[in-house]
């Protein structure tokens, strides 16, 4: 049935058990076979629920109330459970750790075929083929608990694809990965989509990462599909809708009054050239970076010659010298394994330096990567008291179970938990706080960081998110192999690079040190337009 829609939804509505609000409302859509569909929307908009309906977990696994119809490859989701739908729909979730079931990669890839009763030779062939297609043949004999997050996510995708389903649904598969692994994954999906003809439906917060690969975009809000369009039409809609779901370069073009809105950095550059604006590095005058303040005032926190060596002799930190002043906002950047998290753990005292000294002017607060790790009570109010709950915006939900809170709410509550000491903190450290976060929540977090800095705390945030770093930081510290390799203002460090660079800076080739759409638009109006 090559021309029959792979997904048909007709006025599909759904609500989870014991919930009053519908997670899906009147969803009507048709997806063609072999398409690459991006699901956009803020947290809680219903993206994950729609994906869980496509693979049959809704309603068969989660329960709840369904009205309307949903068919996947001609099978009604009402009548067919996830086990039957697995034959036509491969599913990949957010956290690779919990969707890899077996101890070894080969066994993991074999499992779906064994469930289907395939013969040993068919299983061996299927495993070999999918491993080669996804470039993980070298991992086949590895243990799953020795794989990196990116490798584990590839294995999860391979396990979802090993029986060659017609549809692959992915729920924010890059949210737990570093940017390089995330980009590689999206292009891998595009290749599979093109070469195997597998229809892909992917929910993502990083729209800029997925948009160039997508054929179609569905935007969701409050459980309903509010936009169903091609990527370019979607960008027009997103910009008109307020810009929260638009990419930075689309917002740049919109603010500068340029059309059409670009889907990728390449298109943005082409668009600028077509408009007579040549985005080369020298086009705009890069403002002289403000000189690093070398105040003699007391530091909020200071590391002097800090080394950290682990049991096998490898040095994670190698003679780090870093001073942070009160009220300073630092984005700690660098590839995975550069030593960012270890540095933050040393600041808090979770790890001790092998050599060197760490001095601080007071308490250090540290929010680790997974805010759920801080939540240990049955009721939110027991976690940190009424004041903290109010600061987290949860004053009206004191009795809520913290595990039922959304990702953003958990993050806010966890931050208030670590800040709930009697004395104000000298420094507040956050480790990758924006993973899987939508733009609205990122903006809220940036505002909270600003408020903490205004109150005199030094902020040190380890992040891969260049857009977020550009939004909150007044200093970038770039780490590599346990040493500080660059230390300077954002306009200097985030404008001229390839990897550590915002999308706007890449489109403008670093001109004028513009990092954010608003800055870029002003630059275009002020300096590039002649």
């Amino acid at each position: 049935m090559p021309d029959q829609a792979i997904v048909v939804a007709d006025r599909l509505s759904y609500r989870y058990p014991e919930r009053d609000v519908y997670a899906l409302r009147d969803v009507t859509l048709e997806l063609a076979p072999g398409g690459f569909t991006l699901l956009a929307g803020e947290s809680g908009s219903g993206k994950s629920t729609l994906l869980r309906a496509l693979c049959g977990l809704v309603p068969h696994f989660h329960g709840g109330e369904v009205t309307g119809e949903l068919e996947v490859a001609g099978m009604s989701v009402r009548d067919h459970g996830p086990g039957e739908l697995a034959a036509v729909c491969g599913t990949v979730f957010q956290d690779p750790e919990t969707q890899v079931v077996m101890g070894g990669v080969r066994a993991e890839l074999s499992l779906p075929l064994e469930h289907r009763g395939e013969s040993p030779s068919a299983i061996a062939r299927g495993v070999e083929e999918v491993a080669l297609a996804l470039g993980i043949a070298g991992l086949l004999d590895r243990r799953t608990d020795t794989l990196s997050g990116g490798e584990l996510q590839r294995v999860a995708i391979a396990a979802a694809l090993v029986h060659r389903p017609a549809l692959l649904v992915l729920d924010e598969p890059t949210s737990q990965l570093d940017p390089v692994a995330g980009d590689e994954l999206i292009w891998l999906l595009r290749r599979l989509n093109e070469e195997w003809g597998t229809a892909v439906v992917i929910a993502e917060q990083r729209i800029d990462r997925c948009l160039p690969a997508a054929d179609r975009v569905l935007a969701m809000a409050d459980g309903a599909v509010v936009c169903d369009a091609s990527p370019r039409e979607y960008l027009d809609w997103a910009v008109a809708d307020g810009g929260n779901l638009a990419t930075p370069i689309a917002r740049l073009f919109s603010l500068a009054g340029l059309r059409p809105l670009p889907r990728s950095v390449k298109e943005a550059r082409d668009g600028l050239r077509a408009a007579g604006l040549t985005p080369d590095g020298g086009a705009g005058e890069t403002p002289a970076p403000p000189r690093r303040r070398e105040r003699r005032s007391a530091k909020a926190v200071e590391l002097r010659g800090v080394w950290h060596e682990i049991a096998n002799g490898r040095a994670i930190l190698r003679g780090i010298d870093l001073g942070v002043e009160p009220g300073e906002r630092i984005a700690l950047m660098g590839r995975n394994g550069a030593g960012k998290s270890t540095l933050l753990r040393h600041l808090k005292g979770l790890a001790a330096p092998t050599r060197g000294r760490i001095e601080s002017a007071g308490e250090i607060a540290l929010l680790l990567q997974n805010p759920g790790d801080y939540l240990i009570h049955e009721h939110a109010v027991d976690e940190a008291g009424a004041d903290a709950l109010s600061a987290a915006g949860l004053a009206d939900r004191p009795d809520a179970n913290p595990r039922d809170l959304s990702g953003g709410e958990r993050q806010r509550l966890a931050l208030e938990i670590v800040l709930a000491g009697d004395a104000p903190c000298a420094a507040v450290c956050l480790d990758e706080p924006t993973r899987g976060m939508d733009r609205v929540h990122k903006d809220a977090l940036a505002a909270r960081i600003e408020a903490l800095a205004a109150a005199g705390a030094a902020l040190i945030v380890a992040t891969h998110d260049t857009e977020f770093a550009a939004a909150f930081a007044d200093r970038i510290v770039l780490m590599g192999d346990g040493v500080v390799i660059a230390d300077g203002p954002p306009a200097e460090l985030l404008a001229g690079g390839w990897h550590f660079s915002t999308e706007v800076a890449r489109a403008l080739d670093g001109a004028g040190g513009a990092l954010m759409p608003e800055q870029g638009a002003k630059l275009i109006e002020r300096e590039l337009v002649r």
């Binding site: 750790e97 469930h115 997974n370 240990i376 000491g421």
Partner: protein, 304 residues
């Protein structure tokens, strides 16, 4: 890779876990190595004789060291320590039998709290037995590929085997979760009690289990059937380890039936120790050494 996970994984997990390695126990099929470990555990269950138990512990340690998993065995021994101490301490407090009174205690809730040498020895022997059994299972965890074992048992009880495999897989995941939660607790201005953190880790384990269950569902678990048997020729390591397992089990059962290694603790301690017990110990050690002995145990590429 997620940097927090990297940090967590740098620290060693407190539980023994399987890692592929080049040793006869790792190279042999899972069924054979599992049988050897279970035969050692059976020996510990059959005998209370301290010399035999010490020999069994020695055999487990020797096999572990020769298989390159000495650290895992040490970890298992450390894991067993609280239970061993609990058994060793509780037994003399609960049992008043025995002729040799060491401490005359008072009365608590109408019960005399006398401590006898015999009860103390019985507690020590029970503790030794617990340690030996836990260490044998430590060897099992470190040397037996759980995926292969699952494949073996799936033919008999598919769902039970998968549940077992999942539990095995979840142990290191949950251990890492618990470590992370411990770190998060230390980041609080007023760190919570260990009990509160343990409780939260347990409820987190349930969340993990639900997520894994969802992952299994979308992999077609609910329609899964009994897999076809894959034939695999027996290697020299398979044969040697299986022979060792049979030798340990047969020796233990035969000597038990013959009444060797008998121990009576109450009312007076009587532990049999003589040539039969020494012979039993020697045979056990020789059987466990079998997979590692001679040229046949060597790993590598055979010459043409």
């Amino acid at each position: 890779m997620r940097s927090a996970d990297r940090t967590a994984s740098r620290r060693e997990l407190p539980v023994p876990a399987y890692r592929p390695a080049a040793s006869p126990l790792h190279r042999a099929r899972a069924g054979a190595t599992a049988s050897l470990c279970l035969a050692l555990a059976l020996t510990c269950m059959l005998f209370e004789d301290p010399v035999v138990l010490a020999t069994a512990i020695g055999a487990v340690v020797a096999a572990g060291v020769m298989a390159g998993v000495g650290r895992e065995i040490k970890r298992a021994a450390l894991l067993s320590l609280p239970l061993v101490l609990l058994v060793a301490v509780i037994n003399p407090l609960v049992y008043r039998e025995g002729d040799t009174l060491l401490v005359r205690g008072g009365e608590i809730l109408g019960r005399r709290m006398d401590i006898t040498l015999e009860a103390l020895v019985a507690g020590g022997l029970a503790g030794l037995r617990v340690a030996a059994i836990v260490m044998a299972f430590g060897l099992f965890s470190a040397c037996v590929d759980p995926d292969e074992l699952l494949r073996l048992f799936r033919r008999f009880s598919y769902r039970s085997a998968l549940t077992g495999a999942l539990a095995t897989r979840l142990v290191p995941v949950l251990a890492r979760d618990a470590m992370r939660m411990g770190d998060a607790a230390r980041c609080r201005p007023a760190p919570p009690s260990r009990l509160a953190v343990a409780r939260a880790a347990l409820s987190g384990a349930l969340d993990r289990a639900v997520e894994v269950a969802a992952a299994l569902e979308v992999r077609g678990y609910s329609v899964g059937g009994r897999p076809e048997r894959a034939r695999r020729p027996w290697s020299r390591h398979d044969l040697r380890v299986a022979a060792a397992a049979v030798a340990v089990a047969v020796t233990a059962v035969a000597f038990k039936v013959a009444g060797v290694g008998s121990v009576a603790v109450y009312p007076r301690i009587e532990i049999a120790f003589g040539p039969p017990e020494l012979l039993l110990c020697a045979l056990l050690l020789a059987a466990v050494a079998l997979p590692f002995a001679g040229r046949g145990a060597r790993l590598g590429v055979a010459r043409a």
